[in-house]
Amino acid sequence: MSKIIVMTSGKGGVGKTTSSAAFATGLALRGFKTVVIDFDVGLRNLDLVMGCERRVVFDFINVINGEAKLSQALIKDKRIDNLYILPTSQTRDKDALTPAGVERVLNDLSKEFDYILCDSPAGIERGALMSLYFADHAIIVTNPEVSSVRDSDRILGVLASRSRRAEQGLEPVTQQLLLTRYDPERVERGEMLKVDDVLEILAIPLLGVIPESQAVLRASNVGMPVILDEASNAGQAYTDAVGRFLGDEIEHRFVSPQKKGLFSRLLRRSA
């Protein structure tokens, strides 16, 4: 039985696509057949982050419109077995996402895949609604700052009222928080919200804390999901988060400041 996960946030620029790419890769590394779908029609980015932008011929919208077969649009990842990308259209807009079309594609995918990961666009309009409507599970990506927390709170409300599970009175969409771009030193200085502050407002289980890391931008620019950068804090944090998602008991790391001093830094780098 396949599971549909939506990576969503309300706010833009918090790391949904980075997290989608990392998470899908992590699930595939754990042996699950996984597909990650870009719902950000017109602002296509997932293919860049996944490093498959030069192999896009047909896309999600073509499949919805019956212009291409699903197998033609799915791109198999070159690095990881079991990992597929369904890119979206850069020339169309969100209106191309019809509920019936999205449902049909998800139904077809669920016959083949263990996990279907939907990378939501920002906002609470059609694109975001379509990406979360069919979800079984939601990962809420939030930055430790008030506007992001408020937007995440809004999206949680939308999940509770406008998802298919809510509308049909089924078990509610399960939810977990992924706190990204967390900088423990700035938190210590009072410039950022603490993990506990965010959890207090959002009141959902914590899936993981991804530290602010230069590795993220570096990985994006070379088209490699950051989870594959095993030396980086961010990569390790995503690996932990995937483990927790699958039920492993893993302690949260990267939530308090690193010890100062060149020696400990060198040690951590190589760890």
Binding site: D153, R154, L156, G157, A160, I201, A203
Partner: protein, 249 residues
Amino acid sequence: MSSANQVAERDAPFQLRGNSFTMMVLKVNAPNSQDFFPQLNVKVRQAPNFFRNAPVVLDFDELPDTVVFDLAAFVAQVRAHHLLPVGFQGGPRPVQEAALAAGLTPMPTGRAAKLEVAKGPDPRAANPAATVTIEVVHRPAVVVTEPVRSGMQVYAEKTDLIITASVSPGAELLADGNIHVYGALRGRALAGVSGDINARVFCHSLEAEVVSVAGIYRVSEDIGSDFFKKPVQVFLREGVLRMDLLKTV
């Protein structure tokens, strides 16, 4: 009650039970005014379906003692506007007697005792036979056990609202009665939205954007640090919104 009695009641030709009904109150301030019925007409025309044959209670409480008017003709005029006067509240003695004679039922005023004392002896006390007791049927509160998120709005119509989780910034709570938040209140909470000045807001941690009782409100900026993030009740006293710390065990 024994089961035998219950069976007997079921077979009885009638049953007598209490019930409560919501009725509009038509506050009669100046029955002789030239503008009274033209203005009533305008009001009724705004929502003819809503007002058609709606039962109303005539409130004579604000009538001056000296007023003289033909109550029977007045009631007939109100009926002509498709409102059905069924009862009355308060008013000078002659008006009350005329209303009783016209077949209207005296209704309990439901006002604070203080006001009645100020008006002298309770008019109903002088006429105990006419006093009716209406059993108020319990109207259950609206209970929400999940967090109320930003952008959500919850309205408890004609009752209390109880939230056993936190209320996020950007969420809005509305109730005709009281609002209880057993968690942090970070959004807006408007109690007594239909005008109940006795409604209150209770919360475990007051961090609200706006709190209001019967339209009298206070914004976050004006909530002093004495009350911020504290268990607080908010209520009206003499038309002023007041806050009290709740004693916690």
